[in-house]
């Protein structure tokens, strides 16, 4: 099989998921199931064909460079172990789809179910097939998310919502830890590639970061596999539809944790820390899970705790660090998936037929559904580890390993006893399942009193899985043997031990342990039988210690109490304290490092005062200071003052050899002033004084603000002086100056930087400009001005009153004739300014000018028409459509950039040459000019859109006191 089919295998379920999701409108119940089943079956078959490519430790790799600089590649990797797991995921996935087709009722939204199920399958395949651990972490989180969506499938049910949230929180936190652990691991090894990590076991275990990395990775694995003390999410996840429980919460997703432990086994295992951390988690989960399972009333609850216990068993085996135990662990993963999935399906059938899962109500169902009962009994026997079934084989291997001494310690010595005890518990709960549900008198208290056998094909998946249990249990070496061998070799490589999969090994210690567990478990069950028939849910004593409640208490404390405390004590919704903080922190951020580097000693003496420049700046400083003083009560005066400061800035640019900046500053100054003037129309006059300005606290506040402002000002002065006088080291400027003409084809270096060298930045900037303009436009669509400013302004009212009093004048004449001569001049200037804009644009590459300046000039041309003729007059004559200008500008810029792809260059590579046009002569024709055209068009559109949106407000009609109609734009 070619390796690129791995990509197909991975994406098939995702594509299927999207297609299924698109069926949500159809009422068809079978179509989504057919689709999902088809996808799962195709994936299974595809996987099966890969088998010859993975035998004997061979690996199929498929790699797409993603971010190779960061060591992140989209690597897919299939080896024997991954193949076995892929078969489980796809094969059991197919069976679950078949089962779910009959399980889901007609009222449920079927397409959503199958869509999530397929997406989950894709995510799970992603975990299994990832050859890069970061990629693995991504798929890991995806499984958590789809598990959340599937548990919460019946979201009208509060238990489902709570269970889903809990599962997501626990596995999400685990996934986050896992990611950090992986980053550490990648740091240790120097690569995120799985093959390199597996080969670097010694390096990892010697490294000082081994323990933190191990703990974090184990957090991920143990939460996912519901190991103690994170086990409690799994029983709560049983609120999911039963097919989900069978698939995610027994066969696949919860196995992801142990899968990862096996996957990283060669790299991480074998150390003292590994043994203790994994071992304690595994053994306590094994024993406690089995113990808890006995006392569940809910059938699915029993199976959930049993799953937890079996996962604990696998974890325990992996903790031992011996190759034989690893073989047993891999074997048991497969066995457990087979019998537990079938048991969940059987539990679902019972629930489906009787309407309850409460074991205190269920009884004597054998007479109603003998066939299902037989299947469930066989599966239960496999779970209990009865000979001739698959569960027996892996359990015997476990017992054999438990007896062996691995690391001499209390844990190791206690293991055989604990293992036998857990075995006895598992026998007890298996018998309880069978005995209470299928035997005894007919049930009296069930919602559906006439249960019967399920449809033929609903039973098929159970039959298939139980058949597999039997085959593997009776002739292991002929059925699972070769596949298991392939998987084991791919994990253990040269360490692969000798093992035999025979049913009969003679009378030995493991067999004795099994017999003791069988007899002990049976006795235990019948001793507890009467108690269990009436007891409360949950094991004695422990039922009061509920992980769920602890979890919720913690959640409330962290997300509610602490958060509120922090918000109340450290937060404020008031702007002024926030800005004070910003100003203070900015000052300190500049001051502290400079102070400690002792830079003030290096400052050159104060020299060189040009009197004309000093006069200029005397005006500038005066403007700035008076703006600060008058901004509160005299808005127009403040606007004029900052206009003055702006002009001084503009002259400074011109003075200091920056003509481009001077032009742009001047033009922007014009539009900003007009903009604020337009805004002033809607800002009502302040009547009377606000603020009690003489109060003591107000004075203190002002004094403090003045101190902050003065400090910032002084600091900025010193900093600016230092920056401007200290010698400038070599900068990238020289590069730009040397290459602007040779490579950018322009003599105006500033413009060449903007449209060529740093074209990508410019593209981002014009995008921002467009977004801001659109935001302004959107905000003004629903604009509701201050009530006081809705009426016609006072001046207009005086003028209208004058017209009204004169018999020969019509009302509105004076307003219309206002500034008649200047407005005619403005109208006549329209073509002149446009020509000037084009001139600025064309010369931009070689002389001061360019797209930005030209765009604003063009916008001013439009603006003058509004000023001269009035909004109505201008809109009657000009249809500007600034939204189209914005989109066109952005498209031109992007298209120019993308154009270089077609010639095989990176985005925004420019080409320059000169063209000779008749009459005009030589003109530059760099592709950067085309990009600059995009800038120009966008700047025109954005500026015009902003200004017109505000100008347009004056001709909208507002109803006083009532909100305007929403669509009144």
């Amino acid at each position: 099989m070619p390796e690129k089919f791995l990509l197909l295998l991975l994406f098939l379920p995702f594509v299927g998921s999207i297609v299924t999701a698109l069926l949500w409108r159809t009422a068809a119940r079978t179509l989504p199931a057919w689709l999902a089943g088809g996808v799962a079956l195709a994936a299974t078959i595809l996987t099966a064909f890969y088998y010859p490519s993975v035998t004997n430790g061979k690996i199929v790799r498929f790699e797409i460079a993603w971010l190779p600089e960061l060591g992140l590649n989209f690597t897919l990797r299939l080896d024997g172990f991954a193949w076995l797991f892929t078969m489980l995921v796809t094969g059991i996935g197919f069976l679950v789809v078949v089962y779910a087709r009959y399980y889901m009722s007609a009222e449920d939204p079927i397409p959503r179910f199958f869509s999530f199920l397929l997406a989950f399958m894709g995510a799970m395949l992603g975990i299994v097939l990832s050859g890069n651990i970061i990629l693995l972490a991504i798929f890991w989180e995806l499984t958590s998310i789809f598990s959340f969506l599937l548990i919460g499938y019946w979201y009208h049910n509060a238990n489902a919502r709570d269970g889903a949230r809990m599962a997501l929180t626990i596995t999400g936190i685990g996934g986050f830890c896992l990611l950090i652990g992986f980053l550490l691991l990648g740091h240790i090894v120097g690569s995120y590639d799985l093959d390199e990590i597996l080969a670097a076991g010694e390096v990892i275990q010697q490294h000082s970061l081994y323990l933190p990395a191990l703990v974090l990775i184990l957090m991920g694995a143990l939460t996912k596999s519901a190991q103690f003390p994170f086990h409690f999410w799994l029983p709560n996840a049983m609120a999911a539809p039963t097919p989900v429980s069978a698939y995610l919460h027994s066969a696949t997703m919860v196995k992801a944790g142990v899968f990862l432990l096996v996957r990283l086994w060669p790299a991480l295992s074998g150390t003292f820390e590994w043994f203790w951390l994994v071992g304690i988690a595994g053994i306590s989960t094994l024993v406690l899970g089995a113990y808890f399972a006995i006392f569940q009333r809910d059938l699915k609850g029993l199976l959930a705790y049993s799953t937890i216990s079996h996962l604990g068993l696998i974890t325990t085996m992996l903790s031992l660090g011996s190759p034989l135990a690893a073989v047993a662990a891999i074997f048991h993963m497969v066995n457990h998936a087979t019998f537990k999935a079938s048991l969940f399906m059987a539990a679902g059938i019972i629930d489906h037929e009787t309407g309850t899962r409460d074991m205190q109500k269920l009884s004597g169902l054998f007479r109603f559904m003998p066939y299902t009962a037989t299947l469930a009994m066989v599966a239960c026997a496999a779970m209990a580890g009865v000979p001739l079934l698959n569960g027996f084989l892996s359990k015997e291997m476990f017992f054999a390993e438990a007896v062996e001494t691995h690391a001499d310690s209390i844990l190791d010595r206690a293991l055989p006893y604990l293992a036998t005890l857990a075995g006895a518990f598992s026998v007890a709960y298996s018998i309880r399942f069978i005995h209470t549900v299928f035997f005894g008198p007919p049930p009296t208290d069930i919602p559906n009193p006439h249960p019967h056998e399920p449809p033929r094909w609903m039973r098929f998946p159970v039959e298939f899985l139980v058949f597999a249990c039997l085959i593997v249990g009776i002739v292991p070496s002929l059925s699972i043997g070769p596949f298991l061998g392939t998987a084991v070799i791919s994990v253990l490589g040269s360490d692969t031990p000798q093992y035999s999969l025979h049913v009969w090994h003679g009378v030995n210690l493991p067999l004795v342990m099994s017999v003791i567990a069988m007899i002990g478990g049976t006795i235990l069950y019948f001793a507890l039988h009467r108690y269990l028939a009436h007891a409360e849910d949950g094991p004695p004593i422990f039922r009061h210690l509920r992980g769920q409640r602890i979890f919720e208490r913690i959640l409330v404390t962290v997300s509610w109490k602490w958060a509120r405390w922090l918000e109340a004590n450290l937060g404020t919704r008031r702007l002024q304290p926030q800005l004070r903080l910003v100003a203070g922190i900015s000052f300190l951020a500049a001051f502290v490092p400079l102070y400690f580097s002792g830079f003030e000693a290096k400052l050159p003496p104060l020299t060189g005062v040009d009197p004309a420049f000093a006069m200029l700046w005397a005006i500038g400083m005066l403007s700035a200071l008076s703006a600060a003083v008058v901004a509160k009560y005299h808005r127009l005066a403040a606007l004029l003052m900052i206009g003055g400061a702006g002009i001084v800035t503009c002259v400074t640019f011109a003075w200091l050899s920056a003509p481009d900046l001077a032009i742009t500053q001047l033009l922007v100054e014009i539009v900003t002033t007009v903009l604020l003037l337009l805004g002033l129309r809607w800002l009502p006059k302040r009547l009377g004084k606000v603020d009690d300005s003489t109060s003591f606290t107000a004075r203190i506040r002002r004094l403090r603000d003045f101190a902050i402002a003065a400090t910032c000002g002084v600091g900025m002065s010193i900093l600016a002086y230092a920056v401007m006088t200290l010698p400038v080291p070599d900068t990238i400027a020289n590069y730009f100056l040397e290459h602007a003409y040779t490579e950018g084809g322009g003599r105006n270096v500033v413009n060449v930087i903007l449209v060529d060298f740093r074209g990508f930045d410019t593209m981002g900037e014009i995008a921002v400009l467009g977004i801001v303009a659109l935001t302004v436009f959107a905000l003004l669509r629903r604009f509701r001005p201050a009530v006081e400013s809705i009426e016609v302004p006072e001046q207009q009212r005086i003028q209208n009153a004058y017209d009204h009093d004169q018999p020969e004048r019509q009302e509105g004449d004076t307003v219309r004739d206002y500034l008649l001569v200047p407005s005619v001049v403005m109208q006549w200037l329209f073509p002149v300014i446009i020509t000037f804009a084009i001139f600025l644009f064309m010369r931009g590459h070689d002389l001061p000018g360019g797209g930005f300046a030209a765009g604003i000039t063009m916008a001013i041309a439009f603006l003058l028409q509004y000023l001269g003729g009035g909004t109505r007059w201008a809109e009657d004559r000009l249809r500007i459509l600034p939204l189209r200008w914005i989109s066109l500008g952005l498209l031109v810029a992007v298209a120019t950039g993308a154009g270089s792809w077609f010639l095989g260059y990176p985005f925004l590579t420019s080409h320059s040459q000169y063209l000779t046009l008749p009459l005009i002569g030589k003109v530059p024709a760099a592709t950067a000019l085309l990009f600059d055209l995009g800038v120009f068009v966008l700047v025109v559109g954005a500026t015009v859109l902003i200004l017109i949106a505000i100008a347009h407000q004056s001709i909208r009609t507002y109803r006083v006191k009532t909100p305007p109609k929403p669509e009144d734009a």
Binding site: L575, D610, L661, G713, Y721, A733, L737, V750, L769, F783
Partner: protein, 112 residues
């Protein structure tokens, strides 16, 4: 030259900071404008101040004679973006004045 310009930047910064700490929205918008002048001039000044330096590449002039074009390119876009943010803030200011009936930055008068 440097001394005057840095004093000017300092005065503009001080006035701007004072204004953005004031409670009226219009004061804040004027303060932001002043701050943006100051910051633009500062960034421009990073490249060093040169009077009568050629702004356009001319053959035969050494590279060291030109002004530094990089801060200029930065400032040029900053000027245009500054206009856009002023416009955005102005519209928010007007809307807030219309919705809350006050021009206090917090949308309601301080009760102290």
């Amino acid at each position: 030259m440097e001394l005057i310009l840095s004093l000017g930047i300092g005065i503009m910064t001080g006035s701007g900071v004072w204004l953005i700490l004031r409670p009226r929205t219009y004061q804040v918008i004027i303060g932001l404008s002043l701050l943006s002048y100051a910051v633009n001039l500062f960034i421009f000044g990073v490249g060093g101040l040169k009077v009568n330096a050629p702004a356009i590449l001319t053959d035969g002039v050494p590279v060291s004679a030109y002004t530094d074009p990089v801060p200029q390119a930065l400032v040029l876009t900053a000027i245009v973006i500054g206009f856009a943010t002023t416009a955005l803030f102005l519209v928010v200011l007007l809307a807030s004045r219309g919705l809350t009936g006050t021009d206090h930055v917090d949308g309601r008068e301080q009760s102290q």
